[in-house]
Symmetry: C2
Subunit: 523 residues, 2 copies
């Protein structure tokens, strides 16, 4: 390190490093170059380049979900932030801590309305728990401290930090002192509240425990299983968990359904106990269907997402005097007797073949319902693994989230289980995956249509074969060749249309040290 | 057409059609399906699907620049809008009329904070002159009328129209009546103001006419040339025109430089007459350099961008009694004596070979400085053509703008002259170009680096070879294979590294009825 004088950019990075941040997902421009240069001077923060900002923000989300730690992003003014917003929306819904650094013009240049000037605050607010404008070298540490504290609070949050070039360039007196680390952690559920819930539960049957947030960790699930066994309750997970452990000897979780009619049927007349989950609402509003899917008199809240659901469940189990349960019989994936053949593939075939071969400790980034639905129904049969889902519905989350997860968990196999339509929104992720040589196996369900839109049109008794409805829901003509795209970005790839080829491809992919893409042709 | 009852979506589209709108760039989701179905019932609006929203908004911008008419977009809630914001930022800076339709949840579903709920207004405001929430069937026509009027006002503008599903689904009494068309057009510069400018000009030397907006049309330039000849003034165009006619017998225009030092040198002590252009400001703020590049006492405004610069120039010329000038000698592109060879290519080689072969009436979408800078210096030598540039600096504008231009000008050859870094942000455009079989020749300057960032680092005496500065400005390792990406999206492609191969590829591309991509390897 040859730097002898420090500037605002150094101080920002030193403060981040002092708070344990070790990675920065960047797509910089001219206004971020002082920060780029400073990354060369401040050791310990790994720079990862994305060719598009949605790759960076989605990777920061995935990194946070797997590591529990915030990552930095580095984006270029309002338009760079704009390109990253969709995945910040998902990060917000996942309650992922992200410190989202957005460079800006020098403060004295802003009044001149140069081409790249825009209202960054207005872009940032919908996804950010706080938007902080760095003011000057003297205030910088306190402002960053605030940013890290909010991002790593009981609810993880996106905090957008706007870094003007003059503040980054300004000399500061010395290197940043160590920042007091904030003890991260969720708020405790008061004992009295747990006692009240226990009393209320004793009078209600049937019961469902709906698990979200940290209730979906291994320890949370085991405590939930104890409570459920004492109450003869069913265990459900929220529809779109940020991250959930599944398989192996973990309890089998039903997934909360998607369409309101299905949720109503699934829940029946049960009382729903919320454990780190929100009360079920319909994903979209449908005429004639309720938005809130459980009447409030059938909802009991044990813990909010910002509260410590694990401790609450363990306290509740202890209060009920439920002994630790024998773990579920560890699932032993069985290679199906149908080991191949050249017939066409179904989504369930793909999921079964994946589950049979999924390495212990794998992390799945799941986007799209074609494979995602069947996978979550059958994941209990796999070796123990973790699954991340699209929490906010902003598509283009799967590939970037897989990228961030692989960087957060070196040594783990990451599988990006992905629909072809949604994969397009952040297809540039493939380049970052190739560049960083990440062990990501990408499985593209290539049905060349927006399947969910065709399903919705059918549900509404509308045609899917009109000139326009056809044109706007089919992705054929031309069909995207995913193996060519992968090759273009430096990821080896193969296309399969039969079960035998799929099984071979999965084995080949899991043998690769780096990435591999499998285009699975589906009807 | 089998529809016998009309709903809000029909009415919206009927109103758009009545106002002359004939195209909709769409990336719909569940909340937009009523509008998708309605497009099947209301004839005359061509649906064009983009695989990413930035393709749709950039195409709407390009369509507007070439046709002068607004296009519709159709985007999916806040996250879909978010993905389209960067190119709406460019559209705003281009003063392009765009009616940006964003679907939303049913109004009665919004309070339940379903996953895709977000603050759409906050996302939309920075790029929109107005954000209009459609309220109900009864108000819809008046609200749309307002949207079209604002979008097509003297300054073209982006208007965001938020369309909740319940308002789109609601039955309306009848088909929409024809809307009174607003006479589009710019405001006239008052004669007295023109007289005052004429008087002021008579006392100032040297003079520069800085042309922007409609002063860059053919008629505007010819009138400007008359004025310039009477005043011995130089003719400059703004740095980033939305669209400018060049070549053939048009006057030769200098382009306003990029870096402030270069602009100060270029302008010298001249008085700058603004004709549809804003006073020059530095693109970024640099310590020690001014933001405003001309002192206010050396600026005279003939016309603002929202005013009729053509009429103002013609009135001024008439007042000065300048006769019509003989047209410039029409440039006859000369095939350079160096017709090939196998040596490495330079950007100037690429530009020269393109200019020599550029068909009359072509439209160039230009993004990135590697080829863009040399092209705009030498374009006067080409056959008459039009050039669109990146008006707002939000990168990822070139390919979508080319897409929209090709749809607005059937029969014209469109060239997307594109740097490789910026092409990545909306690479999905290639699929829409292939699907619509558009005559777009894409030329990718493949130098595998963010050249502008390396230039800026050098200007700041910073290293470009540090671990991080190297990593974040070089796009090698792996190098993107653009021919593979093009093939993946259905666009035929070739890679060239010598002048002879480039010339053959250009001729092959211009012979194609549909698209063709040329990856030009540059050092």
């Amino acid at each position: 390190m040859t730097t002898t004088t420090w500037n605002g950019a150094h101080r920002l990075l030193q403060a981040a490093r002092a708070r344990g941040i070790d990675i920065c997902f960047a797509n910089p421009g001219t206004t971020e170059l002082t920060l780029v240069s400073a990354l060369d001077d401040v050791p310990g923060i790994r720079p990862v380049l994305g060719l598009f900002e949605g790759v960076c923000t989605g990777a920061a989300d995935g990194y946070a979900r797997v590591s529990g730690k915030p990552a930095l992003t580095l984006l270029h003014l309002g338009p760079g932030l704009a390109n990253g917003l969709a995945n910040l929306h998902n990060a917000r819904r996942a309650r992922s801590p992200v410190v989202n650094i957005v460079g800006d013009h020098a403060t004295w240049h802003l009044p001149f309305d140069a081409p790249l000037t825009s209202d960054i605050d207005s872009f940032a607010k919908p996804v950010s728990k706080a938007v902080i404008h760095l003011r000057d070298g003297a205030s910088l540490l306190a402002q960053l401290q605030e940013a890290f504290d909010i991002a790593s609070g009981p609810n993880g949050a996106v905090v957008t930090v706007i870094a003007p070039t003059d503040v980054m360039d300004a000399k500061v007196a010395d290197a940043a002192p160590a920042l007091p680390a904030q003890a991260p952690g969720k708020d405790a559920v008061p004992d009295g509240d747990i006692a009240a819930v226990a009393a209320a539960l004793s009078r209600k049957r049937p019961l469902i425990l709906l698990l979200g947030a940290d209730a979906l960790t291994e320890r949370g699930q085991r405590a939930a299983a104890r409570v459920a066994s004492a109450l003869s309750a069913r265990l459900l997970m929220e529809s779109y968990p940020a991250i959930v452990s599944l398989g192996g000897d973990l309890p089998r979780l039903e997934r909360l359904a998607y369409f309101p009619q299905d949720v109503l049927k699934q829940l029946g007349d049960a009382t729903v106990v919320l454990v780190g989950a929100k009360a079920p609402v319909s994903y979209f509003g449908y005429e004639g269907q309720p938005s809130a899917l459980v009447p409030s008199d059938r909802v009991i809240e044990l813990s909010r997402p910002d509260q410590d659901s694990v401790a609450a469940l363990e306290t509740l189990a202890a209060r009920m005097e439920v002994p630790a349960l024998a773990a579920e019989t560890a699932a032993t994936p069985v290679v199906p007797s149908d080991t191949g053949g050249a017939g066409p593939l179904s989504p369930v075939d793909v999921v079964d073949d994946l589950i049979d071969r999924l390495p212990e400790g794998a992390i799945i980034s799941l986007e799209g319902s074609t494979l995602g639905g069947p996978f979550l129904q059958r994941a209990y049969r796999a070796r123990k693994h973790r699954v991340m889902t699209n929490t906010g519905g902003a598509i283009g989350q799967g590939l970037p989230c897989a990228t961030g997860a692989a960087l957060a968990a070196p040594g783990a196999r990451v599988v990006s289980l992905q629909s072809d339509g949604s994969a397009q929104y952040t297809v540039q992720s493939l380049w970052t995956i190739a560049r960083e040589k990440l062990p990501v196996t990408v499985i593209i369900a290539a049905n060349h249509r927006y399947g969910i839109l065709q399903t919705e049109l059918k549900r509404a008794d509308a045609s899917i074969d009109g000139d326009v409805t056809g044109r706007l829901t089919r992705l054929d003509n031309p069909r995207v060749d995913w193996t060519a795209l992968a090759q273009g970005y430096g990821v080896p790839a193969i296309r399969v249309a039969s079960r035998r080829d799929l099984q071979q491809a999965l084995e080949q992919g899991f043998d690769e040290e780096g990435p591999f893409l499998i285009q699975v042709d589906l009807p």
